[in-house]
Symmetry: C2
């Protein structure tokens, strides 16, 4: 006999067994149902692309983490590491075929050869949704509303979406005379929760000097309700501006749509990514803020600049699926059904296999998922297997011509006897 190959998977990669995969799919299906209600449409792009397309200007962490190799035709190719870069390429390539504003979602796997010691996976699913081709406050608001309502639709409505405007913050920095350090400052501010107030102040002092650093800290720590904070940061940035007007209009939309209480203005939210230029936001679960943002994004003014001369502005967001699943579990809000099957038809006589399937079809056609057992075994072992499969009922066909059934209620450990098909069906539909 040949030597066996050890069946194992790569570090940082995962198998999804049925219970976990059903949970993931249930979540993704509910998210998609929500997205579609807003007129968002799905797209898909290749997993492999030219490395030059994916890396763009190149450099940085991405280049070190990307799975890159030479294919059979000698091409320099790589596996996508996010869904944003392929979307930018997609928009540049198909611009003429897509009516603007174009609202798309894309839920798919991406790959990064990250250090797995930090609990990161090398293969994970991203869930992005963007509206491209409109620079209106209404588009900003729609994404924010979708974030709130999509989370509500999966059972986590108790959220705070913390909002800020990068452009207003930059206007403030310009007024302070430190616009040249804006990227450094934004990144430092972005890490304040992790680094703590003191370290952040020290770092800002190193970048801008003590006085300016103090003013920046005052800006990002502005207190009050949405309107009060907006007034404070508007004044700090030199008075009303298109950016403060934008925040004000988005706030009016929140009020008119009756959703204000889910949103807060938080001048310390900056998002690390360079390409955001307008509103930026992160979403925290009020019952579980410590797990961090479950949905984040912002507005950018030049999505596809690497591939096209046309400036495409847009606004988008991304749901962290793995984090959300962990949160649902921690909050006891997982669906946790682990199976689709409702009833199992026990095998009493193997040669009745065709009749059992005919019976099962009658239930399936009524929308009741129904598994058929194939082999004559003791009924007690069939009950055990049915329970492992996640079924609630076992239907035991009678052997007389009168089509009567015994129904085993698995959780209750009891049998109901002499039922007609209609009685079985009505119990299954009720249960």
């Amino acid at each position: 006999m040949a030597k066996l190959i050890e069946p194992k998977i790569l570090k940082g990669f995962r198998d999804f067994l049925p219970a976990a995969e059903i949970e993931r799919r249930s979540l993704v299906e509910r998210i998609e149902t929500s997205f579609r209600l807003y007129g968002f449409v799905p797209i898909d792009t290749p997993v492999l692309e030219y490395a030059g397309i994916l890396l763009g200007k190149g450099g940085g962490e991405t280049e070190k983490q990307i799975y890159r190799f030479t294919d059979h035709g000698g091409r320099d190719v790589a596996m996508r590491f996010d869904l944003t870069v392929p979307f930018a390429r997609f928009m540049a390539e198909h611009r003429e075929e897509l009516p603007l504003p174009f609202k798309r979602y894309h839920i798919a796997k991406v790959w990064r050869g990250e250090n797995t010691q930090r609990g990161r996976y090398r293969e994970f699913t991203q869930c992005d949704f963007d509206c491209v081709g409109s620079d209106s406050a209404a588009a900003d608001f729609e994404i924010l509303l979708m974030m709130r309502n999509t989370l509500l639709s999966i059972g986590v409505g108790n959220v705070t979406i913390r909002l800020n405007h990068r452009g207003l913050f930059n206007r403030f920095l310009t007024r302070l005379g430190c616009q040249g350090q804006s990227v450094e400052i934004l990144r430092t501010v972005d890490k304040i929760t992790k680094a703590g107030r003191d370290t952040t102040l020290e770092t800002l002092q190193e970048i801008t000097g003590n006085e300016t650093a103090g003013k920046i800290l005052e800006y990002i720590e502005a207190k009050g309700n949405f309107e009060e904070i907006l007034d404070a940061i508007t004044a700090a940035a030199g008075g009303p501006s298109p950016e403060s007007e934008r925040l004000s209009l988005i706030r009016r939309f929140m009020n008119d749509a009756g959703v204000s209480s889910s949103f807060a203005l938080d001048p310390s939210i900056t998002r690390g990514l360079d390409y955001y230029t307008g509103v930026v936001y992160e979403t925290f679960l009020n019952e579980l803020p410590e797990i961090g943002s479950v949905c984040s994004g912002g507005r950018y003014d030049d999505l596809a600049g690497l591939y096209s001369k046309e400036k495409l502005s847009g606004v988008g967001s991304s749901i962290g699926l793995d984090r959300l699943i962990a949160a649902l579990e921690a909050l006891g809000k997982s669906e946790g059904k682990g199976a689709y099957v409702k009833a199992v038809i026990a095998c009493v006589q193997e040669e009745q296999g065709g009749a059992y399937q005919a019976l099962a079809e009658k239930l399936r056609s009524q929308g009741a998922p129904c598994e058929v057992f194939f082999e004559e075994k003791k009924l007690t072992s069939q009950f055990v297997l049915a329970e492992k499969k996640g079924a609630e009922y076992v239907i035991i066909p009678g052997d007389g011509p009168e089509e009567k059934f015994t129904l085993r209620e698995i959780a209750q450990r009891q049998n109901r006897e002499n039922l007609s098909f209609e009685e079985v069906l009505s119990i299954l539909k009720r249960g």
Copy 2:
């Protein structure tokens, strides 16, 4: 300005624009709905695996086509080229966690660096479903029934599933004394439709000599109904055997379940793959047989032999999604909706963006997908955009306090005026 990167994708790979992606998803969703009714559960496995796991004994076409490279940690890795090998590895690795028989489906992308000149893609989606851990005729029959009913559920019920038994054919070859050439003979017979009768006979003559070749051709060309063909090939293989009994029992199940007319016994069906040992089958659309089999598979007796000493027998099938989509299109049975959105809310005053979303939410909560337009433009251009987006209606909010609406019926090019919200909703629900 930096030089632009040309936005293009790799040969053999595809972008899916919304209309195509919506069509694919609709198909996959209906297939999954059907699978779940049978108690089949989804799994997922990594795209990247150790190359040694995926290649197993190695050699042949697979090794030339697989995308294989060395990762950051110096591991020899590859992208999966089918879903069967990862499933075998999965079963060997997780055997203890899975109650048998285990019924799983897996719908996911695979990659092969094939010659694209034959119209093949290098990235495509496979849709596999298998029942592992039962060697019963009832399991064989369930897969066949699922194939029939799943195709019926997507609108292609007019099919013939052509069935054969590799074990019975091998018994016949043993009787002829040419069991040593069985793999070669099976492969030759498998290609008879493409190669034609004469070429097949010639090839068989080269393998086995003239007399035997004639007998083989007689066997695979047996004529009559299911029962007559079964009698003929049973006799040719030396009389009743476990294999002929298996076919006979499967036929009884078909009769008992009332689905016989969808199935035919066809002794020329062999499937090229070495690992099948029992029933094998292919599915042809009666209205479009020339596109070839849209769903094929068979029974195997040792799924995970490379990774485990435990023999796992099973039976499975695979739907050819790309071919099925092409067939649906050719038969005029594509859903072809290309969009989810039902209605669009026109933008009459931009500052009403919040109120428009509130209105849209009332429709969405009734299950009507509803897109909101963001920018004040001429109504006629908003109608054009709404049509491009695939919407059927444009809702034009009135500007009075009485909440009256004008409803544009896009296809009819007409407006209905002065409607209440309830009237709008009832038209949308009817339409």
